[in-house]
Structure formats: structure tokens, C-alpha cells
């Protein structure tokens, strides 16, 4: 079964039997003639191109705008599997928000000695401008993307949390849309839980955190850095589906107690801003003075209860890789519950003993930059050659506090179309949990797949693709 020389869990199989959840798909693929397959693959690409789904890859030269590879073979979760994930993700989203509300207020978890103070207050994502202000409903991270990997039938791990503005949900929606259009029969044969309620739930979530000074139906907008941002397509897609305006910083202005949007009929008050602009850039009069992407004075309106900003400024301190280690502790501390989902065991290079272990075992570890994302600045020990391991070791020695390391997990694989038919390829999962006056989670998420044989890196910037993710109804 294994082509990587390493054993891993194939989600389609139980021993040599096809698991019940995958039976219909296994038949579907077996019955599909090669010509139809290439025709459909081509059709899928056309559809993605038409809607304009592209993503940007930097640092490789050439045209950075690329089409994300789409694999037609869906990934399937049974109802029972999803039930556990659902509870675990909601629990995590609740704990992360409780943590944020605490560290921007009294910091009980620090006072109780359960998390080292410097990891929080000396963290670049910790915004002192957010201290002492409680956002509506006490929510800081309104969209929590929890990245999960699977290593066995019942074994899931949380790889990382994304509390700022996790991207990719447009792929979750588009992958489903395209599969339904191309293979309607599959959706008659299988009872698949829908995901198309996401935009409505997102809008409801955003409206539920309207600010104190908003009376009546809140006006929600999406703030984008603009069309050159790699996720611009997603910003406009979500704005369309939610029926809200997509704006850039220059479309908004602050006057008196409120923030307004310029419209052809004159200024219109804005109540909730779903921003896809980083903290440092949202208000040049509070953060980076050279930012052209933000709205001058926005933080003052926010802090005086005139507008809500989602995610709340400062939410990023909860998804930092150095803080990640403490999420199970947060669940116990704030919720008094045992964590449902496990963390991946993590070595912190800031800790000299951990660092020594990491440097001695680089060939079998995955090392990540604490503040990195997108799979950049990362070492996959077993896949790296000697010289790149040595180069990475030098970087760790220079700034150990910038790195964490984890064992190389045998990520599960799901059947994926390849030239010769289908073959197992490694996958992860990012569900999108919505937090407002209630916690909402659509059954599913974005499955990213490492298309290169044996590869464990699923990031779209590094040879990853996406596939539809099914949760079977009861």
C-alpha cells in the first residue's frame, strides 16, 4: 500500500476492504471511462477558470497567479467521525476566544501560572491597543480555522489554529458546487450534508456582533487589501454570496463617532467590518503610519463602540505557534473540560533541552517558524537532504525562539486521481468554525491534498491541491 516507504492510514480502506463510506465512490471511479475522466477534469478546470479562482505564489518568478489544482475524488467522513470533530472544533474555538478575552483583560491564565507571561505580552501579535476593550459578545476570533490531520481511523491531531482571517473557505464552497454540477448522480446516491449554508451563517455571525451604538439592521462589509491580494477572489466571492459590499480602505472614512462607506447616494454608516487586512495595516493612525490599506481613525471608532472589527485586532496572539502548545491547557482552564482533539507533540526550541533534541533529530522532525505561515520557512526532515538540514540547523541556532518542531506524522491519505488511475495522496482538513452569539460549524471544510507522491506538504504554494469534502448524513 505504501509508496513512501512509510506506513500510513488510507482513508478508503480497512485492511484490503473498501470502507462503507467510500464504496459508492470506489464504484464510481471504477466505472468511469478514461475519456470521461479527462473530459471532466478539463471541465472542472474550465469552471474554476471561469469563476476566477486563482491563488498567488511568490518567490518563484513568472506569473504568480495560478489555478489551484482540483482533484475530483472526494474525501469522505462518516457521520460518527464528524460528530467527534465537530465537538472538538467547537470546544477549541470557544477556548481560544476565552483566552483572547482573558489576555486582553485581567490575564487570569497568566496570573494562575498556566502560561508564561512573556509568550503572550512579548508576542508581536499581542496588541496593546486592544487591552481593556471588550468587543461585542466578548468574541475576538469570529472565524476559527482549525487545521486537522489524521493518522488512523480514530486518531486526529490539530496541526495549528487560525484565528485571524483563515482563507480557503471559497474553495470549500466551489469544490462542492463544481462536483454537484459535474456529477449530480453522486449526490443522489449518497446522502451528503450540505455546506452551502456557510455564507448565510457567516453573515448571521457578523451581524450578531454589531457594536453597542448600532440600532437596527447592521450594515456589514468585507474590507479587502485589494485585487493584488492573493485571496482577493475569495473576498469578492464571499461578499457576493452574503450580499454585502466589498470595500477597500479608501472606500471607508471616519467622522465623529462612526465609520462610513462612500456610496453614490452619499455616506452610509458601516457597523461590522469583516476585514481581510492584517492588524498592522487597518489604521495608520494607530498602527503602521505608512499603511495605505486601512482606514485612519478606525481603531478609535472601534474602541468607542461605533464599529465592530472581525477578527478583533489582536486575535492573532491565540494562533501563534508558540501559544499553540497551551491550547489544551486553555480548554481545561476556561472550560473545565478535557480536550476532545489532541495537539501534535511539540518541541519548543526556545527551551534549551527541546532545542538540543531538535538539533540532534532534525532528519526525522518537521520544523516550523513560530510566526510563519503558508508552508514557507519550514523543514520536513525526512524529505530534506543533508545540506538543507545543516542550513536549517544554523538558522535554529541563531534564533532558537523562532522555531518549534514536531514529529513527522504519517498523514492519512485518500484516493486521488493520478495519471495511472487513483493513488493515495496525503491530506489535511481545515474546517471553518463561526463564533458570534452562538458557535456554528458547517459539516465539512477544505481538504488540501499533497499531489506529489509521498509529499506531506499540502500548501497550495508548494504543490498542494484541493478536493471536495463530504460528511455523510446520518
Amino acid at each position: 500500500m505504501s509508496q513512501t516507504g512509510q506506513s500510513f492510514f488510507n482513508e478508503m480502506l480497512n485492511g484490503s476492504d473498501v470502507r462503507a463510506a467510500y464504496r459508492s465512490l470506489e464504484r464510481w471511479h471504477r466505472d468511469m471511462p478514461d475519456e470521461l475522466r479527462s473530459l471532466k477534469q478539463h471541465e472542472a478546470e474550465q469552471l474554476f477558470r471561469r469563476v476566477g479562482i486563482t491563488f498567488a505564489v511568490y518567490g518563484e518568478g513568472g506569473d504568480p497567479e495560478r489555478l489551484i489544482p482540483f482533484d475530483m475524488f472526494p474525501r469522505v467522513f462518516t457521520h460518527e467521525e464528524w460528530r467527534k470533530l465537530d465537538r472538538g472544533i467547537r470546544q477549541r474555538a470557544a477556548a481560544l476566544n476565552a483566552f483572547l478575552a482573558d489576555v486582553y483583560d485581567r490575564g487570569e491564565i497568566i496570573r494562575a501560572g498556566r502560561i508564561p507571561e512573556h509568550l503572550v505580552t512579548n508576542n508581536e501579535a499581542y496588541e496593546k491597543a486592544a487591552v481593556g476593550f471588550r468587543p461585542p459578545k466578548g468574541v475576538y476570533s469570529h472565524i476559527v480555522g482549525v487545521d486537522l490531520v489524521r493518522t488512523g481511523p480514530d486518531q486526529f491531531y490539530v496541526l495549528e489554529d487560525n484565528c485571524r482571517t483563515p482563507s480557503g473557505v471559497s474553495y470549500m464552497l466551489q469544490n462542492r458546487e463544481i462536483m454537484m454540477r459535474m456529477f449530480p448522480q453522486l449526490f443522489l446516491e449518497n446522502r451528503i450534508a450540505p455546506v452551502d449554508g456557510y455564507p448565510r451563517l457567516l453573515r448571521k455571525t457578523l451581524a450578531s456582533v454589531a457594536p453597542q451604538k448600532c440600532d437596527g439592521e447592521p450594515t456589514v462589509v468585507i474590507l479587502t487589501p485589494g485585487q493584488f491580494n492573493s485571496a482577493y477572489y475569495e473576498h469578492s466571492f464571499l461578499a457576493d454570496l452574503m450580499g454585502v459590499e466589498l470595500v477597500e480602505g479608501k472606500d471607508l472614512f471616519v467622522e465623529g463617532d462612526f465609520c462610513y462607506m462612500r456610496t453614490t447616494e452619499g455616506p452610509r454608516k458601516v457597523d461590522v467590518i469583516y476585514r481581510r487586512v492584517d492588524d498592522a495595516f487597518i489604521d495608520p493612525l494607530c498602527f503602521r503610519p505608512d499603511s495605505m490599506l486601512g482606514v485612519p481613525g478606525l481603531m478609535s471608532v472601534y474602541r468607542s463602540g461605533g464599529v465592530s472589527i472581525c477578527s478583533a485586532p489582536g486575535a492573532g496572539v491565540a494562533d501563534d505557534k508558540a501559544i499553540y502548545v497551551y491550547v489544551p491547557e486553555m480548554i481545561r482552564f476556561y472550560l473545565g473540560e478535557a480536550p476532545i482533539l489532541e495537539n501534535v507533540p511539540t518541541w519548543q526550541c526556545a527551551n534549551p533541552d527541546d532545542c538540543k533534541y531538535v538539533l540532534e533529530n532534525l532528519h526525522e522532525l518537521v520544523v516550523k517558524e513560530v510566526h510563519g505561515s503558508g508552508g514557507y520557512g519550514m523543514l520536513v526532515g525526512p524529505k530534506a537532504d543533508k545540506s538543507s538540514i545543516e542550513a536549517f540547523a544554523a538558522k535554529i541556532r541563531a534564533k532558537p525562539q523562532n522555531y518549534i518542531a514536531q514529529p513527522t506524522l504519517a498523514l492519512s491519505a485518500t484516493p486521488t486521481f493520478v495519471d495511472e488511475g487513483i493513488a493515495p495522496r496525503h491530506v489535511d482538513l481545515r474546517p471553518y468554525c463561526l463564533v458570534g452569539d452562538s458557535i456554528e460549524l458547517v459539516p465539512g471544510g477544505l481538504t488540501r491534498v499533497a499531489l506529489n507522491e509521498g509529499s506531506l506538504v499540502v500548501n497550495s504554494s508548494q504543490g498542494g491541491g484541493v478536493k471536495d469534502t463530504w460528511v455523510l448524513a446520518e
Partner: protein, 277 residues
Amino acid sequence: MRLSVRHNTRYTFETPVRQLIQVQRLWPSETASQQIVSWTVSTTDSVYGAGHRDGAGDWFETVSVRGPVSQVDVLVEGIVSTTDTSGVLRNHREKIRPSSYLRSSHRTDPDASLKVLAADAAKAAGEGTLSLAHALCEAVADAISYVPGETLAHTTAAEALAGGAGVCQDHAHALIAVAIASDLPARYVSGYLMATEEDAVAMSEAGHAWAEIFVEGLGWVGFDPANGCCPDDRYVRLGSGFDSVDAAPIRGLVLGNNTDEEMTVEVVVQETEQSQQ
């Protein structure tokens, strides 16, 4: 002491601008060493709003002026009653944890020379954090002489030390840098000073700035390396931040093709009569 403050900032635009927006932090802190007797802040033809107090205890208001406008005046006038607490900030309500100020900014990043300055000061200092803080303040005062015109608004602590000259802003940045290098939380404070003949060094400056260092057991303590002392009853504290930009009394922007802004600032701080007492 009773200090009267009159602080006028005039912006002149050769080409009228479409809109001016500012976040003003022009209200004195309420502490054991200073109470507001009277205080007004006004901006010509403006709309005020979004008043709020931040986690550091500073009061902010947002001001916008709709154009076209070619001249805007921001006038601050008031009286503050002050007491000398040897620089110690007492009864000041704030929520930010002192450890948040162990982070340096681009302007306060301790380079190798600042680290050496910090280490040398530590060797010379007596026991305890307070002595270390005093030693750091003296070291900065010795290393950077007060010379207006040698540095610019964006000069960093490292650059000021390399040049050996600067103004109060540079002294404050350098003191923050050496304090952070010594693992002491430190921050930038902006405010006013009634300068006298002896510390004429600061008389030529429009506003004043110094630093605060967190001393376990005492709390935040002000140090003014430009004048080689701790703030006393001649100082009026407005607010704090990581550096001169983060703690600026006025942060603003104009919209509409403006390239020719002129700003003139006048600050007069005087002792007034203890009337009606």
C-alpha cells in the same frame, strides 16, 4: 504648582485638502502628581467623536475636518495642578501589563552599541532596579548631547547614539532601548515641560518627551535624560507608547493630493497664581 498650558498647532496647505483626520491624545493623565483644573482642546471647523480611554489610561478623541480647507488650528488650553513625586507615576489607572513594554520598535531597537552602553551602565550601577534605571538615564544623557537640528523625526535610538547628539525624543528612544536591553519594561512619554533657565536645553522644543521605566515595587518611574532628572512638578504628562509615533499627542492624515503642508507649533507653559484658594 499650577501650570498653565497653551499649545497651538497650525497646519497650512498651499493646495486646499479634501479632508483632514486626526487622532488626538491631548488630555493630561490623571495621577497623584497632576490633576486637571481646566482643559479644552479645539480644532477649527471640525467634528469631534469616538472619545475613548485606552489600556494605558490615555484619553483619545478623533477629529475630522471636511475640506476643501487650507488652514487648520488645533488649540489646547488649560491649567493643571502638579505635585512633585520624584517621577513616580502614582494612582494612574491603566490595564496594560508592564511586560508588554519589553518589546522594542524600529526606533528603540537596541543595536550593539546601545547594548554596550546598557552593560557598562549596569556595571557602574548600585544595587537594585532603581539604581540601574538612574544609571541608564545618566549613561544616555552622557552619550547623547542635547543639540537641536542634528536629528530628524525618524531618527532611531541607534542612529542618535552613533551621532552623539539629539533632542529629547532621541534621548527618550535611547533610554527605552537600553532599558529593554537590560530587561526593564520602558516606554515613551509625551507631554509638556515648564523649562527654566537652568534646563534651557528643552526650552527650544515645542513639546517635551521623556521615558518611563517600570521598577518592581515602585511601578512606572519617569526619567528625563534630556534634562538629567526625574520629572517633577514642572512636567505635564499626556500619554505613553512604544516610541514617539506610538505616543504622539497628534497623529493625523490629510486626504487629497497634498504635498505642501506647513506646520507651526507654539507651546507656552507657565506657572500661574494659586487663585481662589
